[in-house]
């Protein structure tokens, strides 16, 4: 870093306090500081850099280096509101500057038109609170394009006949095909499907003073040592800092948003790295803490004026949690794939994005092929269910099949269900004494049917590749999520939504929310691109409101 980072002193008021530095928080920090506002970003996790990201499977996967640590921040889980919630690992999310974009796989699918209008197109679905968005794909299209060109997304436009319209091609060509991509392409074409190069937020070539991918293979679950993964850490956060108007304050755990007697936000209370309590004054607050931490923070910010929690007059804060649903099939091949090299996904199929309503269930999804295992995890968990776990035969299995194994990942819809939620656990506390997140989640029956349909296609695909051997995980109800969506949904009606189309809460004029919680529907399993497009759009809306003098901030 060659620039002097702006820091704000104790008691100094900023224009915007942003809670969280992930996909949305990073973008908003850059856009608002560039527009001339004073911005502070409060991030729970540490500020790590490329040199901190090591090729070490053991350390990264077992030590929670980049994600929430369930020992420090326990989470409880129950399937329904009638059940007692028990402590278990029910959520995974990035807890580091850059949030989940540091360790993610970087699949950057745009949502399709249907995702914004599925309620009016499909009608009501029993047991689901399916709703249209207050914006359409056309409203968001310029911002999808902006994401691709601002952070660097690699892909090839015009190959998939199912792609929604776009105003510009990708700025970078696809990354080199891997064996899973070649197998998927071969099998899918044989079945009459339409495989296309995976759009990923990883640089295939040098771009804007950043180096292209070096194919080291430590990608999903790892931070990128080369800066080729287009995390907010590698892209917009340094740009925000370079404006001289933005401070990134790591290890700052916001636990309350405070308001004045008029019901306007005055700032945020947070614990610093030594667990000392601090208060940051701000003229407006934007919460980008993810679909679990954002509703939790609002629910923790109760006051006499907001007895149900902040911005919760609708009672919907925390409701309609969506994980996206998933199914997995696996295969072993005759020849080595060496899938542990390079980034994860190179070809995708979207033929089942919008399933025929006559199937009798609502939803859809995409298929990709990948491996995503390294030596320890593969040797513990990557063999077929009937494989030996020890002895010469076990050893022969890992020797033969570590380089020859692949999987199909089916990523699909989660319908919004009113009782699937984030709430405060009444008993369990975290290391800071704050109420633990309580997750209530049971997949909608249609989501399980969608998964089974996709899993059947995945097995057909593996036969067509062809695999030497294949197997699958049975479709089952999820009790763990990493896509945390829908919990403060966007809408025009304050009775049925938490924020409006400008990401402004219906109840508090200088409080905004932007992250996975804003989503009205889940898309088909790769939400980050949409979260980031929403963040660029929200930044435009917020700057416009500020310029109209509505927020009491001045650029």
């Amino acid at each position: 870093m060659t620039w002097a980072m702006r820091t704000f002193g104790p008691g100094e008021e900023v224009d915007f306090a942003i809670v969280g530095s992930g996909a949305a928080g990073g973008v908003l920090a850059k856009e608002l500081s560039t527009a001339g506002f004073r911005v502070i970003v409060l991030e729970q996790g540490p500020y790590l850099h490329e040199e901190d990201f090591q090729h070490n499977e053991f350390k990264t996967l077992f030590q929670y280096a980049l994600t929430n640590d369930p020992k420090r921040q326990p989470v409880t889980f129950r399937k329904t509101e009638q059940d007692k919630a028990n402590v278990q690992e029910a959520l995974g999310y990035g807890r580091v500057v850059g949030g989940g974009t540091v360790h993610f796989t970087a699949n950057y699918w745009r949502f399709h038109e249907i995702d914004f209008i599925e309620r009016s197109k499909r009608g009501a679905v029993a047991g689901a609170a399916l709703a249209d968005w207050p914006i359409t794909y056309a409203d968001l299209e310029p911002y999808y394009t902006k994401v691709e060109w601002e952070i660097g997304v690699s892909g090839e436009a015009g190959v998939s006949p199912f792609d929604p319209p776009r105003s510009k091609p990708y700025p970078l060509p696809p990354l080199p095909i891997k064996s899973t991509g070649a197998l998927l392409a071969r099998g899918a074409l044989k079945l009459g499907w339409h495989p296309f190069p995976a759009p990923v937020a990883i640089l295939s070539q040098n771009y804007r003073n950043r180096a292209g991918c070096i194919h080291c293979g430590y990608c999903e679950y790892y931070g990128c040592e080369a800066g080729a993964k287009s995390s907010t850490l590698a892209t917009v956060i340094p740009e925000a800092e370079r404006t001289g108007r933005c401070e990134i304050r790591p290890e700052s755990y916001v636990h309350e948003i405070r308001t004045d007697k008029a019901g306007r936000v005055t700032g945020v209370a947070y614990f610093d790295a030594r667990k000392r309590e601090n208060f940051q004054k701000a003229r407006a607050v934007i919460v980008c803490a993810n679909g679990a931490e954002t509703p939790r923070l609002l629910l923790m910010s109760k006051s006499s004026l907001f007895p149900q929690g902040l911005a919760n007059s609708s009672g919907l804060v925390g409701r309609h949690l969506m994980f996206n649903s998933h199914a997995f099939a696996y295969a072993q091949y005759e020849h080595p794939l060496n899938e542990y090299k390079s980034q994860v996904v190179t070809r995708v199929v979207h033929d089942f994005y919008e399933l025929d309503p006559h199937l009798g269930f609502c939803g859809g999804g995409g298929l990709d092929m990948r491996f995503e295992m390294q030596p320890i995890v593969y040797s513990l968990y990557g063999l077929p269910p009937d494989a030996p776990r020890w002895g010469a035969a076990y050893k022969a299995q890992i020797q033969q099949n570590f380089t020859r194994t692949a999987m199909v990942e089916c990523s699909a819809t989660s319908l919004p269900v009113d009782t699937n939620s984030i709430s405060l656990d009444p008993e369990v506390k975290d290391e800071w004494g704050l109420p633990a997140i309580r997750v209530t989640y049971k997949d909608h029956p249609d989501d399980l049917k969608t998964c089974q349909y996709l899993l059947d296609r995945a097995m057909e695909l593996l036969d067509a590749t062809p695999a030497v051997r294949k197997w699958s995980d049975p479709v089952s109800e999820q009790d763990f999520g990493v896509h945390l969506l829908g919990t403060c949904r966007m809408g025009n009606d304050p009775k049925t939504s938490v924020i409006n189309a400008d990401h402004r809460t219906h109840d508090v004029p200088n409080l905004f929310l932007c992250d996975g919680s804003s989503l009205v529907t889940s898309g088909r399993g790769q939400p980050t691109m949409t979260i980031q497009a929403l963040a660029y759009r929200a930044a435009d809306r917020i700057v416009r409101l500020a310029k109209r003098g509505e927020l009491g901030v001045k650029a």
Partner: protein, 240 residues
């Protein structure tokens, strides 16, 4: 048995055909057939830690690193002819642990857990990051020893039993958490980062064909190479 040192000298999976010349009959397992495990790899990855493994990683990484470095230095000492140094396990316990690890990943015509120095990694871990597991680990060893006395009352200790006797004992406990612990630690010690002390001489990585080069270049595997060759022959751009 072939000398495994000479096996070490082959290049790690840099060639597209891989390093494995003997294909397996993929639906035939001659060893112990396990019942279907009720957790998936995916669940493991997403939840980071499952079952037996979790307790082992409650502590800070520097201690894990120290354990691996201890194993590394101990193996170095062994190379130079110096006696191995144990920090926690008694020599008798270490012999049993090594025997168990060697049943899980045996020395065949390629190196196994013994050659990878797995026992030294386990030894140090019990003094450092997994110190809170001393009791459960001792219980696990006691379970094995109890089975030994029950099944082979005339024997002195596990390590001195024949391989088939040891295998019988391990089969008798393979559905217990004790076995999960042994299996987990053996795999980690066999396939962890060699510069940290596990996976001596990259024995584990060489076995499975994992190339630890810091960067790679395409084509990466057999099928993408084949695909690119077909595309080139057809004079096409790289498209599906």
């Amino acid at each position: 048995m072939r000398d495994w040192i000479s096996w070490n000298s082959f290049g790690v999976a840099r060639d597209l055909t891989g390093t494995i010349s003997k294909p397996l009959a993929t639906d035939h397992y001659s060893g112990v057939i396990m019942e279907a495990r009720d957790f998936s790899r995916r669940q493991f990855l997403l939840q980071s830690v499952v079952g037996a493994g979790s307790a082992w990683f409650a502590a800070a990484w520097p201690e894990v690193l120290a354990a691996q470095q201890h194993a590394h230095h101990t193996m170095r000492a062994l190379d130079s002819g110096a006696p191995a140094k144990l920090e926690f396990l008694t020599p008798a316990q270490a012999a049993d642990v090594e025997a168990i690890a060697s049943l899980i990943i045996p020395t065949t015509d390629t190196p196994g857990a013994r050659e990878a120095g797995v026992v030294y990694f386990i030894d140090r871990s019990l003094r450092t990051f997994a110190a809170d597991q001393q009791k459960p680990f001792a219980d696990a060893l006691a379970l094995v020893d109890g089975k030994r006395k029950e099944m082979f009352p005339a024997s002195a200790d596990f390590a001195s039993l024949t391989a088939s006797q040891q295998t019988e004992i391990l089969k008798a406990i393979e559905k217990t958490p004790a076995f999960d612990t042994f299996q987990f630690l053996t795999v980690v010690g066999f396939l962890g980062n060699p510069e940290d002390g596990a996976n001596r001489d990259m024995a584990g990585w060489k076995l499975i064909g994992f190339d630890s080069a810091p960067t790679h270049t395409p084509p990466f595997g057999y099928y993408d190479a084949e695909y690119l060759a077909e595309q080139a022959a057809a004079g096409k751009r790289t498209k599906p």
